[in-house]
């Protein structure tokens, strides 16, 4: 739960976003996007992301944009953020971090 931002996140990513867990998370996120076109996803408890996980993030982003909405990710840990920077995802995704 992010106490500093105005609205609570719609989805809290937890644990790993890898080949095994990605399908479920993808389903969850896409279902949420069916109901609400502006999604906030909190990644505070995301420990690890693999290639499969990156595809989920990209798909979530693209789906939201296609609906004229947005998909904002919050609170990636430094480790995961490093992966996002390495792969160019920091320029693609909408990111928000809790105010310093």
């Amino acid at each position: 739960m992010s106490e500093n931002t105005n609205t609570a996140a719609d989805i809290d990513l937890k644990g790993r976003l890898d080949t095994a867990t990605s399908p479920d998370w993808q389903t969850k996120i896409l279902s949420a996007l069916e109901k609400k076109k502006n999604l906030r996803i909190d990644a505070k408890e995301l420990d690890y992301i693999s290639s499969a996980g990156l595809r989920v993030l990209l798909l979530s982003h693209k789906t939201a944009i296609a609906k004229g909405g947005s998909c904002v990710f919050l609170n990636f840990s430094p480790e995961v953020l490093q992966i996002l920077e390495m792969t160019g995802f920091t320029s693609i995704l909408s990111l928000e971090s809790v105010a310093e």
């Binding site: 500093n4 792969t87 160019g88 320029s91």
Partner: protein
């Protein structure tokens, strides 16, 4: 320089302490300055540690007994280990204390805990840790900046659309991560090694610095002689990097830079250059860069032809499976092609 750039500006101490009375004592001494998080299990500690949610870890050696040191070692050996680990020992035991330090603890504090000394030591460790982290970050940034600058200097001579270096590094990261997902090249593509390969990737064309402008900037296709000169950029780059590595053998990423610069134009079937090596003789990093480099070249405008579409480039890469490129690398590329295309389209 701020020591605590965290949410509340208060540093967080994870305290794995056996007795409630001891926990209260720790909270008494440190609680006004730091946020104390009690930890009950090794799993919980691991989670806090890996999520970067602890700036310092206090472990009462009595709590997990013989499991303590292996846990300390495990945490301290993590490549991004940051938080200092401080043990609290029940009684003085020189051997156990030495073992604790050897395992990676940065301090051992004896009971009974002496209030003022304890506080000073914790503050001291936090300060040191912050300085070290800041320094490590700065050095790494400097290194990356230098590598990137040199690579871009060479690139700008080439007058290719800027960004080739940044993009190909990202494709290498993406293809590399996909290969990891598939369990391919597990030995050569650990997380640590992939990160180093990505850092080294910008230097793949540095040898172009030795190529005459007449050839480098020729507006048309190169004839055989000119192409022969152009091909020498692989060897020039590798030789240059070898010399630098000889002078600064501590820079591990240079090893990979040499491999990538030298062999990124080699072909899986042995018909590439400069050495006509084939198959598994080609370093994995170079096999990955080969795909990344060709893809980016195809989807970019060139002086002698317009940019191809993603689909066309995809087709050409997959056609080269087994001949120009390692089939496994092509498969990983194919699986992650959507993402690569998204990165390719980003103009910054």
């Amino acid at each position: 320089m701020d020591i605590g750039s965290l949410q509340d500006d208060r540093l967080k101490i994870a305290a794995a302490v056996k007795e409630d009375a001891d926990l209260r004592q720790v909270a008494d001494i440190l609680g006004s300055l730091y946020d104390i998080t009690p930890v009950r299990s090794p799993e919980e500690l691991r989670r806090l540690y890996t999520r970067g949610q602890a700036d310092l870890v206090l472990i009462d050696a009595a709590l997990w007994a013989s499991q303590t040191l292996p846990l300390v070692r495990e945490l301290a050996e993590r490549p991004r280990a940051k938080a200092p680990i401080v043990l609290i020992a029940g009684r003085r035991d020189d051997e156990a204390e030495a073992a604790a330090f050897e395992a990676g603890a940065c301090d051992v504090i004896d009971k009974p805990i002496r209030k003022n000394v304890f506080l000073q030591r914790i503050q001291h460790h936090l300060r040191l840790s912050a300085y070290r982290e800041s320094l490590t970050d700065q050095v790494k940034e400097l290194e990356d900046s230098i590598v990137q600058s040199f690579a871009e200097l060479v690139e700008c001579r080439d007058r290719n659309t800027g960004g080739h270096i940044a993009r190909t590094s990202k494709y290498v990261a993406l293809i590399g991560m996909e290969l990891q997902d598939r369990g391919q090249f597990a030995e050569e593509l650990t997380d640590g090694e992939l990160a180093i390969i990505v850092r080294a990737a910008p230097l793949h064309d540095i040898g172009k610095i030795g190529i005459s402008d007449l050839i480098l900037l020729k507006p048309g296709k190169l004839d055989d002689d000119e192409f022969a000169v152009m091909k020498s950029h692989s060897q020039i780059g590798a030789d240059l990097l070898r010399e630098i590595y000889r002078r600064t053998p501590t820079q591990d990423y240079l090893k990979y830079a040499i491999a990538i610069a030298e062999s990124h134009h080699e072909k899986f079937d042995g018909t590439g250059y400069p050495n006509r090596i084939k198959g598994d003789d080609i370093p994995v990093s170079a096999r990955i860069m080969a795909v990344a480099d060709v893809y980016d070249a195809l989807v970019a405008d060139r002086v002698y032809r317009k940019a191809m579409s993603h689909e066309q480039a995809y087709g050409i890469i997959t056609e080269g499976k087994g001949t120009a490129f390692d089939p496994r690398v092509v498969e990983a590329f194919a699986a992650t092609a959507d993402v690569i295309s998204a990165v390719a389209q980003k103009k910054d």
